[in-house]
Symmetry: C2
Subunit: 362 residues, 2 copies
């Protein structure tokens, strides 16, 4: 049973470059909107999750932020109305490159317009409007979702009272661009990608390799040194391949990549990945520092992780300092988690109290 709901835009949805005809945005909600309609928290996701951030009576499957959302949890659904959207351009209910273009009856594939983080933010606003929420209690996101939450606050300053950005950035720098660009090229060079014209399962090899590179960029050397050391895997096959799985860390990457492949559409991956490269908050004011003049927040919280090299801590600091020049109530947390960029998904003991305190402070 799914708890996913859908809202379809009537007519055309304008994007930063181009437009879509009657796109759908998928979302889930937890808790109830209060009478004043001022207790809603909108969550944007990272590149790959669906709107299923947490389980509910309608869908008991564990969500991607299960520890964080629910009755009595840090984002407490006894008090808050939580909305999570599946990003525009993704493949879990929202319109994306794998969806059928109603104008042609064919999947968009590469005819999908260039996707920007701002488009994902605006698709989130469609849901907010649909739910009759004038001003959010907070807009929140991690990783790409943090960029999207920031874009939302920049584009629609009056629509949220607070911003929470986790392991995010005001813009992409060349190192993370290089990693994502290489992931995309790995997918595109897989002959099975076929210029975007594949049938499922599509470019499995390219997606596996790109996911492995993703995992390398999401975690940290210290975590893996502790976790795997130089352990050898028992899963070495017959040993006939001199370059097959040997070390435990290779086996771990293989298992993670296998889980991902089949679950995510390759063209959607390409579009969402590039959207991150393209995002630059400086577009809203000449520089990252000046863009924050547009914000009309009451408070903000920025969380970063020291071992994150995809969205490095310096970029979180840049965000926090820039916002603090415009706003008194800004909290910055520099967490010593060792799981790198993925810490917000796994180091719950460090993230729970920080998120909890922010939402309790109302």
């Amino acid at each position: 049973m799914s708890a996913t709901r859908f809202v379809t835009v009537e007519g055309r949805f304008r994007m930063k470059e181009g437009s879509l005809t009657r796109p759908t945005v998928a979302f889930e909600t937890w808790g109830a909107l209060n009478d004043a309609a001022d207790n809603a928290v909108l969550i944007f996701t990272g590149l790959s999750p669906s709107a299923h951030a947490a389980s509910s009576p309608e869908d008991r499957r564990t969500g991607w932020w299960e520890d964080m959302i629910g009755p009595g949890k840090p984002i407490d659904t006894d008090r808050l109305f939580v909305v999570c959207v599946n990003s525009l351009g993704s493949c879990f209910g929202s319109t994306g490159p794998a969806s059928v273009d109603p104008d042609t009856g064919e999947p968009y594939r590469l005819t999908f317009p260039v996707l920007h983080v701002e488009d994902i933010a605006n698709a989130g606003l469609v849901v907010v409007d649909h739910l009759g929420i004038d001003r959010l209690h907070a807009v929140l996101g991690a990783s790409m979702g943090g960029m999207t939450a920031l874009a939302f606050a920049l584009l629609h300053p009056q629509r949220s009272a607070a911003l929470v950005a986790v392991s995010s950035a005001a813009r992409s720098l060349p190192y993370s661009i290089a990693i994502r660009s290489l992931q995309r090229e790995i997918i595109r060079r897989d002959p099975a990608w076929n210029g975007g014209h594949y049938e499922q399962p599509g470019p499995v090899t390219g997606m596996m390799l790109a996911r492995k590179l993703g995992m390398i960029s999401y975690r940290s050397a210290d975590e893996w040194a502790e976790r795997f050391g130089r352990e050898r895997t028992t899963d070495r096959g017959d040993g006939s391949d001199p370059f097959g799985l040997d070390f435990e860390v290779e086996s771990y990457l293989e298992a993670h990549a296998r889980k991902f492949v089949g679950a995510f559409d390759a063209n959607c991956y390409l579009y969402l990945s590039r959207a991150m490269d393209l995002f630059d908050a400086a577009d809203y004011g000449g520089s990252v520092r000046e863009c924050f003049a547009r914000l009309a927040l009451e408070r903000a919280m920025i969380i970063g992780v020291e071992s994150d090299f995809l969205f490095p801590i310096e970029q979180q600091q840049e965000l926090a300092r820039g916002i603090a020049e415009r706003l008194d109530d800004v909290t910055f947390h520099r967490l010593p988690s060792i799981q790198g960029h993925d810490s917000f998904l796994v180091d719950m003991d460090r993230f729970r109290p920080v998120i909890s305190r922010f939402f309790r402070a109302d």
Copy 2:
């Protein structure tokens, strides 16, 4: 004109796993061996360079460590006799997977024995013996070459008076193993690799992608942020490919990868890359710390770079501390270069004085 010389092993050359029939080891030399034959410096290379470390009257092409080796330079060939070997398993004159197996008349390809850093060190010893050198003034290497120099000193404690290891490690940890494993898999998944049975140019796409991942792992985020920022390339083609070159950093990676492809044999790359994963100095004493009891050095210098995440500074520290427990004359340099693992090839202003001081202190 080439200055490369060759020595061929008579009969069989025993490797850690298996053996080779009459392998050749390519090398170059600079300066002259003195009468006491005690002024020789043996240099092992990183994964991809040839023995051409510096220019000479016989070969005026710039070498890969041109700034470091020559008359009056930090490794001063007015006083020192410098020898650089092309690694066994490579493709620049030394026997490797691309060479013809004299026993079959066919290229070795994947029938080449599993290559270990120790085998490369022992092939270096063949050259040292051939040149009539009983005890080296120093054995030196950077990156994989540093591992090889360490292996040389562990296997043949009496054959060198000093060790210089630059941006190296006593063993590979899972993070660098993961990066190299993924590079190898990218090459092997290229259909043109064909299980190792390719004709030249071989798996060009796989090699390009693997080289790009290499570049990402060799440099640092700070360097690229300074150098490229969010600059766009002028080299975008006709713009018809929505995922083509866009940012300057993508164009830089493309140019570097193009230079590499065609210059390096894919199977050789696979073997040398894996040799690094397999190396563990702890094999010589139960632990990294204990292995150093075997050393019979008079002095050692360990150089590491703070921004290197492939051979992280903590691993250089481990090396330096371990050796210092057995030896008084150990120097450790922690350089603040921002070019990551590649710093020893580009940040000459920082490396020159350090190397210079070591070889002047004689």
